[in-house]
């Protein structure tokens, strides 16, 4: 362990944050001119992290930078935010910064004619800073904080072109769904803090076995629910496809490589806690499998290139969840690492293609191979990595996942995983063939500029040569994984090839005749499993109705209670009026007391009631007031009689009291 803390690592997240702060306060045009600052800054961070990655050689689970920052003390217990950079964080730093630089460089050309591009880069640098800090953090609170800030950035980016309606709705949907997930995070944090009074991951994991089982379960479920929200797992996956409404490079960085992966990263770090509650692990597994399978199937039916990539990301994340589900953090993290690179490559490639063909619909594309050779080569490398073709990183990481599932001897999961593999290579081949071969449907297609090709090249190289074997990755992280055997390699290659042939047939239209009988399947798939419809009808619309109902309830009932008191008076007055008539007057007349005069006074009072002096809104007090006022008949004799009557009554009372 290097004796001195490598504080220079703090520079990595610091630089983008400074850029964000700088750009935030500038007026629009200055910000647009200074947008170059952001990619340069990201480049330097990438450089630093690569150097650190190479020089530190940690190997093993110790941390090279540990830093505590006291946020507050709550009843003697200090609440700290800790930075704890371990080998895993180092690799993630490298990944995020490299991809970040590529995306930002690419965006320079992609966004150059958008008049709010300065704002785009501000949000991008904030996002990258948040992701870097998340990766470096050693406690759940900091993770959660960065988690939500990334949510904010994704909201900003998806809703970048806020004038149109689609991005606005998509950004709101994305933020709300992820926020629903964060609800789980909140509960988990509360449970954890109540149980062990700290958020430091190492302390939590140390004290976790001592908790009551249901507390651990609640914590684990909460974290899982949050991860599902962030990584768009099945029930909460609706937001990712719509998120494509944002600028493509933005989606490349956020919705492919980093943010969605944060969920997996967090669960991987908290895996020992999950292992304490086996049933949570199984839930993760089956959610992963379901998401992977359905993601892949849905991808096949998509015609929009970005939607295909979106669903492919969902399914690949499903794969990572499967790896976590069987308990192997290494497999998940390795797949996350590789997936980030080739998915970013695919997205940027798709970006160039869309720019070139001005359409996102794959059916309108074709024959781009001749027009855009370099982009095609890079895109192909990415596609094949996704499909799991042999020498590329995608193959190794997917293979590792299959191996881990087999090692956990969970055969139904393995079969479904292979089915998923087949479908993945099916839609990859289908897309690949449609886009690059066949007749050219779109006129004057041209290659993207150097600013677009360079990042593509870098990412393609990373996907090609970055395919270090699982063992090297494992050694670096210091985690032991299941090493691939030849047996598994052959299985996965067969799966890929089977998928490719099916893809070829689909493109040739062989399956069209199946279209008719499987019509209902198509409909289900087109409507994206009716998930969106489900959410709209079961949650969104009723929510409008409920809120209107409650508001009316609030206006009418609760407020009504206050006005009701007055209304009660009105009803009461009618009651007492009759009560006056029958009971009170009777009693008074009955007694031969000196107040006999009251009959005269009450006659006047009745007179006043009958002649309608009392309007409906007079409250009881007003009624009582007018009653008294009417007693002021103006005739002195009445006063004197009432007074003397009063006197006599009092005298009688006193005498009676004296008697007792």
């Amino acid at each position: 362990m290097s004796s001195t803390m490598s504080y220079y690592l703090l520079l990595i997240p610091l630089i983008p944050t400074l850029v964000f702060a700088a750009l935030l306060f500038l007026p629009r045009d200055l910000r647009n001119r200074l947008m170059y600052v952001s990619p340069i800054a990201m480049g330097t961070s990438a450089l630093i992290s690569i150097i650190a990655g190479l020089t530190e050689f940690p190997g093993g689970p110790y941390s090279i930078l540990r830093l505590d920052y006291r946020l507050a003390t709550l009843g003697e217990m200090p609440l700290n935010l800790t930075i704890d950079v371990g080998p895993l964080s180092l690799i993630m730093l490298v990944m995020v910064t490299v991809i970040g630089t590529c995306v930002q460089v690419y965006s320079l050309s992609y966004m150059k004619d958008d008049e709010r591009r300065g704002w785009y880069f501000t949000v991008m640098s904030l996002f990258t800073a948040a992701m870097l800090l998340l990766v470096m953090s050693g406690d759940l609170l900091l993770i959660f904080a960065m988690w939500e800030i990334m949510g904010l950035c994704s909201y900003m980016l998806i809703g970048f072109w806020y004038k149109e309606k689609a991005p606005r709705r998509a950004s709101q949907k994305a933020f709300l769904v992820t926020r629903a997930g964060d609800g789980g995070f909140f509960v988990a944090l509360a449970a954890i803090y109540a149980a062990c009074g700290t958020f430091n991951i190492n302390d939590i994991l140390a004290s976790a076995p001592g908790w009551a089982p249901w507390v651990a379960a609640v914590a684990a479920l909460g974290l899982l629910w949050a991860a599902m929200g962030k990584s768009a797992q099945l029930p909460l996956s609706v937001w990712l496809p719509d998120a494509m409404a944002g600028p493509t490079p933005g989606s490349a960085l956020i919705h492919a490589a980093t943010m969605v992966a944060a969920g997996v990263f967090m669960v991987a770090r908290m895996l020992p806690l999950f292992e304490l509650t086996p049933f949570v692990l199984t839930i993760t597994l089956w959610i992963g499998v379901a998401t992977a399978l359905f993601g892949a199937i849905l991808a096949c039916f998509q015609n929009d290139i970005k939607k295909v990539l979106a669903y492919s990301t969902i399914s690949q994340l499903g794969v990572m969840f499967v790896a976590l589900g069987v308990g192997s953090a290494l497999a998940a993290l390795f797949h996350l690492y590789t997936h980030a690179f080739f998915k970013a490559l695919l997205f940027l490639g798709a970006g160039s293609i869309i720019h070139a063909t001005h359409t996102q619909d794959t059916r309108k594309m074709g024959g781009l191979a001749q027009k855009m050779p370099l982009t095609t080569v890079c895109f192909t490398i990415g596609a094949f990595a996704l499909a799991g073709v042999a020498p590329l990183t995608g193959f190794f990481s997917k293979d590792e996942v299959f191996a881990v599932i087999k090692y956990a001897s969970n055969y139904p999961a393995l079969v479904l995983a292979c089915a998923m593999g087949v479908t993945t290579s099916l839609y990859v081949t289908k897309m690949w063939l449609r886009v690059f071969f066949g007749k050219a449907k779109t006129p004057h297609v041209h290659e993207g500029g150097i600013l677009e090709l360079a990042p593509l090249g870098v990412l393609a190289a990373a996907t090609l040569f970055g395919g270090i074997s699982t063992r090297a990755f494992g050694d670096y992280i210091g985690d032991i994984g299941v090493w691939p055997s030849w047996y598994m390699a052959t299985i996965s290659t067969c799966v890929t090839l089977a998928g490719a042939t099916l893809g070829y047939l689909a493109v040739r239209g062989k399956f069209d005749r199946f279209k008719e009988p499987l019509r209902f399947v198509g409909a289900i798939m087109d409507n994206k499993l009716y998930l969106d419809a489900f959410y709209d009808n079961v949650i969104i619309k009723p929510y409008f109705i409920v809120s209107d109902l409650l508001w009316k309830f609030d206006e009418v009932v609760v407020d009504g209670i206050v006005n009701g008191v007055v209304a009660l008076y009105r009803r009461l007055t009618r009651l007492t009026w009759r009560f006056d008539e029958v009971v009170v007057d009777g009693a008074v007349n009955g007694t031969a007391a000196a107040y006999l005069e009251v009959t005269e006074a009450s006659r006047i009072i009745d007179e006043s009631i009958i002649d309608g002096a009392v309007n409906s809104s007079a409250t009881l007090s007003q009624r009582f007031g007018t009653l008294l006022r009417k007693a002021q008949t103006g005739k002195l004799q009445t006063y004197q009689r009432l007074a003397i009557g009063g006197l006599v009554l009092v005298l009688v009372l006193v005498v009676v009291l004296k008697g007792m």
Binding site: A592, A594, L596, E600, R641, I644, L647, V648, L651, V652
Partner: protein, 170 residues
């Protein structure tokens, strides 16, 4: 001297004249009955030995107040007919008054005798005058009554002033 017969005679006269005063329809006759009551009351007081008070009673009530009432009547009654007023018998008033009397009668009869001194040798009239004006005697109330009478005077003067139509000069 304090024998029953004298008391009975005087009290019957007083009560009779009081009732007559209230019941008679002609207001003028009522004032005459009032004068009679006042005179007999003065007699009773004399009978009780307070000669000075009896004389003042006679002077004030029978004299001044009686004459004043008649005078007021003369001013406010224009025709013969107006003198005749209704008896204004009001049941409520009767009930109040009788209840009051019943209560008083009950109280007087049942409460222990309040008589502290039986033999009666009243101090001389000179003593009466002396303590009336003694500093620690009744001089304070006397002065205050004087002030009250001044107020009454001012009031009488003020209310009967003739007011020119144009309101008062300041």
């Amino acid at each position: 001297m304090l024998n029953l017969t004298v008391f009975l005679v005087l009290s019957t006269i007083v009560i009779f004249s009081a009732i007559k005063m209230l019941s008679v329809r002609n207001v003028l006759h009522a004032t005459y009955w009032l004068l009679l009551t006042a005179i007999t009351a003065a007699g009773i007081i004399w009978f009780l030995g307070a000669e000075f008070i009896a004389i003042t009673q006679l002077l004030i009530y029978a004299g001044a107040v009686g004459i004043l009432t008649i005078f007021a009547l003369m001013v406010t009654v224009r025709t013969e007919g107006e003198l005749i007023r209704s008896r204004d018998l009001s049941l409520a008033a009767a009930i109040c008054a009788s209840a009051f009397f019943g209560l008083m009668a009950y109280a007087i009869t049942t409460s222990p005798s309040l008589m502290r001194v039986t033999e009666y040798d009243p101090p001389t009239f000179a003593e009466f005058g002396a303590t009336l004006f003694a500093l620690d005697g009744w001089v304070l109330p006397f002065e205050l009554v004087a002030l009250v009478l001044t107020v009454a005077l001012i009031a009488a003067v003020w209310w009967t002033r003739e007011v020119r139509k144009g309101g008062d000069e300041s």
